[in-house]
């Protein structure tokens, strides 16, 4: 139940999750710079190598790296097992960063054999990650739907990497005749919907109640939504590979159903919350869920063959930058200050005044990020659909400004690692304004 004394709830003293997060943020800065300075990349056809490279810079370089760090920290806590496998996690970090960077630059150079080499490094890292997840789940006292979702997400990630490697190798060697576009769709959906959405669907039923002091009376809603999404994904994959409209439509309908069930279950949980106001991080998380729902509806329309190539790219941008990125960054606003607090101020509890974890960041900067992110994703989508470069450029600049604001807040939290607040400067318990 409760970790025995001497066993820290932090993965390697938080150095592993924080290192993954820091590396992911560096990738996010570079990818943001790319969007801001070359917004025209988003006006290219979505199979253009520059678009593929940008997508991998975001998904592999930034989002996946950050998510790995979060899972290494979060999963052992949720499973009450304690973290194990620090050496493998460090090797994973190195393999992932080298592999992801190799892939992005090789896409730009059109060198598919090097893409495959980078993908192999990423793949070995993903295997280490999957083994760690499996080991943690094996040691858990009981497997609830949330923990099962973590396992399923790891499995989808393995599928994604295998599919991606197959595509890269086949493009270079031409071993067998394949519909590359169909495989790419399967690869992209296994990664974005299979890994990220499955993970989100599981984790949110633990994280949101934790951050809002809400009651989770049972996990039936979580179980139903995860089961629906997994069934939908199992139909979508073969549907894309064989270009089978019935399977694609059925899979999309099940995914939409799973979103609806998740939304209803989350709404019920939030109704029991004892913390009235949502902080910007949680609002960002909800914004991401909203964009993911919009993308799911857009995806359903595209499944019917309605829409242009531009609409397909806009769908991807809304799902990835609007949906997945906002949920990850929203949670970062909560997780980074908490990890810093645990490392710096946790040992001081009861001995000296300690600040509240949420006060380590900058709420105003996070609110700024949230607004800019919402507006910029809409502008980027409009700019892509109508191939309007000026709108794209404005959206890109606003997006970059939002990312900068978020970085300011995260840096403000991280600063406490080196410069902790002195006891006299600690605001022990800021009291929010009560609702009337």
């Amino acid at each position: 139940m409760f970790l025995p004394p001497g066993r820290s709830p932090l993965a390697a003293g938080a150095t592993i999750p924080l290192s993954f997060v820091a590396a992911g943020l560096v990738a996010a800065v570079l990818a943001t710079g790319w969007v801001a300075f070359v917004p025209g990349t988003l006006a290219l056809p979505y199979l253009h190598m520059h678009v593929v490279a940008l997508a991998h810079a975001w998904l592999l370089g930034a989002m996946l790296t950050i998510t790995f760090g979060a899972v290494y920290q979060l999963l052992p806590v949720l499973a009450n097992t304690g973290f194990r496998g620090a050496a493998a996690a460090w090797i994973h970090l190195v393999l992932h960063l080298v592999g992801a960077a190799t892939m992005v630059f090789s896409f730009l150079a059109g060198r598919m054999e090097l893409v495959a080499a980078g993908g192999a490094l990423v793949g070995i890292g993903v295997m280490l990650f999957a083994i760690n997840v499996g080991d943690t789940l094996r040691r858990a006292h009981c497997l609830d739907p949330v923990l099962v979702a973590f396992g399923a997400a790891a499995a989808w990630l393995l599928v994604t990497v295998a599919a991606g490697l197959s595509i890269a190798l086949n493009l270079h060697y031409g071993w067998w005749s394949l519909d590359v576009l169909a495989l790419l769709r399967a690869h992209a959906h296994a990664g974005v919907a299979g890994f990220f959405v499955t993970l989100l669907q599981g984790a949110m039923f633990r994280l949101v109640p934790m951050f809002t002091l809400a009651e989770v009376r049972d996990l039936r809603g979580a179980a139903a939504s995860i089961a629906l999404s997994q069934l939908g994904l199992l139909l979508l994959g073969p549907g894309f590979v064989w270009s089978n409209v019935f399977l694609i439509f059925s899979g999309t309908a099940l995914l939409l159903g799973s979103f609806l069930v998740s939304g209803i279950a989350l709404h019920r949980i939030l109704q029991t919350r004892k913390k009235r106001h949502f902080e910007p991080g949680l609002r960002g998380f909800f914004l991401g869920l909203f964009f993911l729902s919009v993308a799911a509806i857009g995806g359903a329309t595209l499944a019917f063959g309605v829409g242009t190539l531009e609409a397909a790219l806009a769908y991807g941008v809304v799902a990835v930058l609007g949906g997945v990125l906002a949920t990850i960054e929203g949670m970062l606003c909560k997780i980074v200050p908490f990890l810093v607090w645990m490392r710096v101020y946790g040992p001081r509890v009861g001995r000296r005044p300690t600040p509240v974890a949420g006060s380590l960041g900058r709420a105003a900067a996070e609110r700024f990020w949230l607004r800019l992110h919402a507006v910029s994703v809409v502008l980027l989508a409009i700019g892509i659909v109508f191939s309007h470069l000026a709108v794209l450029a404005v959206g890109a600049v606003l997006f970059a400004a939002g990312q900068c604001a978020l970085l300011v807040s995260l840096a403000s939290s991280a600063r406490h690692l080196w410069r902790p607040a002195t006891p006299g400067a600690v605001a022990v318990s800021p009291r929010p304004k009560p609702a009337l």
């Binding site: 409760f2 002091l213 009235r276 001995r351 300690t354 009291r431 009337l436």
Partner: protein, 105 residues
Amino acid sequence: MKPSIDPEEVWKTLSTIPDPEFGVGIVDLGLIYDVRVEGACIHVAMTLTTPSCPAGSMIFSGVKAALEAMPGVEEAKVELVWEPRWTTDMITAAGREHLGWAPAG
């Protein structure tokens, strides 16, 4: 003869320890179930919002440290209990107000 320890002082000391996420004192969160004073020894039964609370071990050791720093205290025995299970209904009116809800009445 050593001065006896006032249980009210023990509660006051415990109330200075905030939950790191919400800033509400652990007393107002309803995490302290029982306080008993026996001579120079304090017995506290407490819980956590969830067994997987990541800050649990730090709050637990912080409670012990804060109590043992009180004048006249020789030992603080802190017991972590899971029955009854903590629910959000255990948050006091002051705690709810701190969390952004209007005072009752």
